[in-house]
């Protein structure tokens, strides 16, 4: 229990700190790196909750794809973030006020929130005992609902064919590399020999 509490405070502290740094860092590349750190710590928190599948998804999808994409965009495009950020402080009082109002509203709504006793019975799809939640989700998606899953695949196939059919055009004048032609080229085809008389030029 102590270990868990320790891990929780470690993950949450690093998560909040790196989230603040995402906003505060001057260098946009550093921002993205802090974002990745934040994702990793959020994944750690999810593992503590016993939702290891979502933790895995967070790392694979957000760190693996989204964050790297951000990094590429930040590095490739020359956006002056310092220029963009200038003057953002002057909106702080107004933005803070709106934030406070929203928090107050949330508290008011939350304090009178009562969950119907019947509602707990409606949670029918809790993770079955004895298997991991990855396996439980996999069973639902690929065993119980395999029929729908396969049709969804066909729908995507149709979308792909449709996009190609409606937009792909053979454009004239595009030079494509034809390796067989390149390899079949001989010296006689490529080089033209001229006999130039001395003192006359070509």
């Amino acid at each position: 229990m102590l270990l868990q509490a320790l891990a929780f405070y470690l993950f949450s502290a690093v998560l909040i700190a790196s989230a603040v740094m995402v906003v505060a860092a001057r260098n946009p590349v550093h921002s993205v790196l802090f974002l990745i750190l934040a994702f990793f710590n959020a994944a750690g928190l999810l593992v503590l909750l016993g939702a290891e599948f979502i933790a895995m998804l967070l790392v694979v999808v957000y760190v693996g794809a989204v964050a790297v994409l951000f990094l590429f965009v930040v590095m490739m495009l020359d956006v002056d973030f310092a220029e963009l950020k200038r003057g953002s402080l002057q909106y702080l009082p107004f933005g803070g006020l709106i934030g406070l109002i929203l928090v107050a509203e949330l508290l008011m709504a939350g304090s009178v929130w009562v969950i119907k006793p019947l509602a707990s019975g409606a949670v029918a799809n809790a993770t079955p005992q004895g298997i991991t939640n990855t396996e439980a989700l996999g069973r639902i998606l690929y065993t119980d609902y395999v029929y729908y899953f396969q049709i969804a695949g066909l729908v995507l196939l149709v979308a792909m064919i449709g996009a190609i059919v409606l937009t792909l055009r053979a454009r004239p004048g595009v030079r494509r590399q034809v390796i067989s032609v390149q390899n079949a080229r001989t010296a006689a085809m490529a080089v033209d020999m001229h006999d130039i008389k001395p003192g006359e030029g070509a």
Binding site: D144, Y147, Y148, V155, L157, V158
Partner: protein, 477 residues
Amino acid sequence: MSFTTSLTVLLPEIIMAIGAMVLLLAGAAGGEKTATPISWAAIGVMVLAELAVAMGTGGPAFGGAFMADNFARYAKLLILISAALSVLLTEEFFANTKQSRFELPVLILLATLGMMLMVSANSFLALYMGLELQSLALYVLAAFNRDHLRSTEAGLKYFVLGALSSGMLLYGISMIYGFTGSVDFYIVRDVIAHGGVSIGLIFGLVFLISGLAFKVSAVPFHMWTPDVYEGAPTPVTAYFATAAKVAALCLFLRAIVIPFPHAIEQWRQIIIFISVLSMALGAFAALGQKNIKRLMAYSSIGHMGYALLGLAAGTALGARGILIYLAIYVMTNIGVFACIQAMKRQGKPVENISDLAGLARTNPKLGLVFSMLFLSLAGLPPLAGFFAKFYIFLAAIQANLIWPAVLGVLASTVGLVYYLKLVKVMYFDEPAEPFDSEIGIGSELIIILSGAFALLFIFTASPVITIADAAAKALLP
């Protein structure tokens, strides 16, 4: 019910899916010149699937999401026949315009697969997935002639309005799920039988019917039909008017009749309303049309109105009426579109009604079949179309829907006017420049088949009626 049993039940669909993917790969490897063999292979795949449907095992599959009963089989046979004939038409159409592309038969295969899944859907989720598979392929097919303004406009209009209607359908489904706690048709039925009809459920039902009415192009949701029918390439329009209509109407029938038999008082009035309006609009709006494909669009709106009258009856007799209606409608319509495709001058298609002038003198055979098919659509005895309307009105009257039936008969007399006008143009007007005499062997075959069906249905009616009866009994015992 094991996984392998489910797969055996789904054999026709699996054949279609694998066939489509193999043909797609073959086309991608072979390039544009493979368009014709791939069209023929697609027809082969459909024939195979048809055999699998005819001989396959019935029953539910995948935990009741899919249902292969006699009703679904009947609908699938109709869908596959009309899809195969449409591929035949597309092959000739695009080979003539030198725009053949192998993706077309593949897309038709996938759309047909979506239709087969639709008519077998036994839960709202399966219904939606099948419908989306079908619609997405149909949007692309409508815009297939992408260098023509009309075709792209048709595709875009169909897409935007189709997405809107899908949204309405989904909204309705979510309400139904929220108020019954299930998407399974039979569970929804049980919940309503025990718990009664709540106001939220009625909201859901109205949205569901609106979405489905869009897909069958019934009246308040019909606006897209004339533009899409006019803009899409003729054989694709033929496909829209036959296979897509069968699928949408059978889906409509199943999705209303199975989950909501205990809410019949609530949905019947809506169905009667859209049915009567469709019949009326189909008859009156078609009177002033100049373009034959637009005219066929209004004609199809009207025909959907008649078919929906069978649904309003809510009885097995009504369902039987719809199934007979669809068989006759499909067989007649595919012939009409084959005739429309034969309207060419110097290889260029013409679509105006005035171009038909004097067809009976310039091309007597085509003129004869063409006008016979129109008279069948109008419902003149002894042609097939008469029996279609007869069984619908019979069911409506037995279900005590006297007024809607009377209005239907009146609308069909108005409809007779424009069909007769077409016959008059073909027989009595001064001949216009003749059409190309070269029709194409496939189109000719379809025209002969369809004409023979319209003329000889009176002698072969009883097997069709027996099969339709068995199919309707599967739905409404």
